[in-house]
Symmetry: C2
Subunit: 371 residues, 2 copies
């Protein structure tokens, strides 16, 4: 087909030609959304992660998001995951809104959670991750990667495209460590769910983790799974496999921020051709974040990578919890950007950001019992 | 659409009008295949089950079949599951052949296995089943049923139809016990993977199990999940939920023999309208079995139930392991009938039994290292 008229709801960054090519292929077609959830003890290092509330609660953010997407409510915690002190709600609310409107099917993949979500999920034999400060962050990373690859092939069969995403608190720190060990990133450009990105703490944690693991910047270039094993997280191990397996059969949308760049970094170090079969899908908030640089990270992996972002704007939302996204809170996660982009693509642009926001307001009121 | 010309590859039993109605709706359309695997200690009662070899090996039949379908080889056992002493191979070979030819996607659901399969699978929080002689056969049956229902809804979304099937050794005995406790079956009409169906042993085991559980024939009519809890197996608990959840959104093919009748029996006792949204899909071998009576069992649940069977015939196969099916060995399992029927339906009849058999011969040689 000819190149679609790109609607105002989505914008292109990264490699524009590649983005238009991939959009042309899947425009108006229905894909499947997946979200890989997990926990890493890295998130419990005080100050590293806001995603969930207290350091202990951050361990439940992944499973709680999985429950929220699947059931419309959480089981392992009361209410939805929030960032303190403002109580800003999980981006999972945007994800559900996009999935509800588009009626796209979804699967939850449990990469390894401290507490397993109380829902049906794809199990890949994973365990929750240890703190990267141990230098032994992911047990059985290679086996989880292999199962992820089988799962990617399974899920891609008969699909027009697959969205692969994540929810794991502490994940930007493990992403930074993984990309530094592989050498695709040499400075701290990763994002944070806080507008006060604790960059120094994260950089110091990562450098200490690399040292404990006996790694240097770039030393895992030829063995990226060693980077994941030592200083990554379970989500990266599994999703690197899912992306490689699925992209053999169908285009893959990497739904998320700089954590999904770490997934791509591992996958591309194993098979460099993967960059021609994926598109990074994120949010306007993440692209506009002054404290991180997704485009620069991706271009460091390969200049071929297309990036598309959903043009959501919460500034006119009546809810403070959503308005906060405009001040740099949250910005991404639970594949909210990827799910929204998939909603636009699957409807050939008929679903707009306004439609998604209206649905989100409805769901927001319902889930938070507001009137 | 008008009623399709039913090809010679499939035949109708049960309610003919309902079968033609459902076939018209889904003819030429692509569905998804699922197989729910599990273990019950019931299979380790000497003489109850041949599926797998020794009583201990029967516990691994479900997980081994799951690995076979997903990877094309097994991990938890050497070679493929066989029935002794002749070494007749698992019907999973027919399932893979049908799925490979039709390219239909599949999901494995782990209802509770003694040894978890070494592949990605849907987890519903299940445990392997105890012997029904304990009167406490399935722990958390109600929770597993509920998760099955959520999973059925998830998997049915965006699907034209869903095949729901099983692999669990000892499962015809638990099926008989469940249906007797509910009261839809009052005599032993269930099948067996052996042509020497050990009916007396099975009946006696079931009657003893009912007694231990404090149940009588029909006493669980209004609480079918209690039947599963006391004398069923994990597969029945989960699949009853999957069928009810999925059939809200899409037609469901119950792929299997009398074990799937037990699933239907539980589901129909909870929601009698389910019988209008399902079709039982099995094999010619099962329908022609002189030692069991699937049609009579199903008609006892409801005269509305359509039954379709795949007209496979192994009598001209060069392999003794397959020829044995014509002598009454195996007959059904791992959704081989349902997968074959789905292959015929999805191709609007272009895929024939001959095509499937040719593919099976190829796979048979490959997997069994024959020339």
């Amino acid at each position: 087909m000819t190149s679609p008229e790109i609607p105002d709801s989505i914008r292109i960054a990264g490699n524009e030609k590649a983005a238009k090519d991939i959009l042309s292929k899947i425009w108006g077609k229905r894909g499947t959304f997946t979200c890989t959830v997990g926990s890493t003890m890295t998130s419990a290092i005080p100050g590293i992660s806001d995603a969930g509330g207290t350091p202990e609660l951050t361990l439940l953010t992944g499973p709680a998001d999985a429950e929220l997407i699947t059931l419309g409510h959480t089981v392992c915690i009361d209410g939805v995951p929030v960032n303190p002190p403002e109580g800003i709600p999980t981006p999972g609310l945007l994800t559900i809104s996009a999935l509800t409107l588009s009626k796209l099917p979804h699967h939850i993949i449990n990469a390894g959670c401290k507490v397993a979500p109380s829902i049906p999920y794809y199990d890949v034999g994973g365990h929750y991750g240890e703190s990267i400060l141990t230098g032994k962050a992911v047990k059985d990373a290679r086996e989880m990667f292999e199962r992820g690859k089988v799962l990617g092939e399974l899920l891609a069969r008969d699909q027009e495209y697959l969205v692969v995403s994540e929810s794991i608190a502490g994940g930007t720190t493990t992403a930074l460590a993984t990309m530094m060990a592989i050498g695709t990133l040499r400075e701290n450009l990763v994002s944070s769910s806080s507008p006060r990105n604790p960059k120094e703490l994260k950089t110091n944690t990562v450098l200490q983790a690399l040292k404990t693991a006996g790694l240097e910047i770039g030393s895992c270039k030829n063995d990226p799974l060693r980077a994941v094993e030592c200083v990554g997280d379970p989500m990266i191990a599994v999703n690197a496999g899912v992306v490689l397996g699925a992209s053999k059969h169908t285009p893959v949308i990497l739904g998320g921020g700089t954590q999904m760049s770490a997934v791509l970094s591992v996958a591309a170090a194993i098979d460099p051709t993967v960059v021609t079969r994926v598109m990074h899908g994120t949010t306007r908030w993440l692209i506009n974040d002054p404290n991180s640089d997704l485009v620069k990270i991706d271009m460091g992996i390969s200049p071929e990578i297309p990036i598309v972002y959903i043009n959501m704007d919460y500034s006119k939302s009546p809810y403070k919890g959503l308005q906060a996204y405009e001040q740099g809170f949250i910005k991404e996660g639970v594949g909210c950007g990827g799910a929204s982009i998939a909603a636009v693509i699957s409807s050939a642009g008929r679903i707009t950001c306004d439609d998604i926001l209206e649905e989100e307001h409805r769901i927001y009121r319902e889930i938070l019992n507001l009137e």
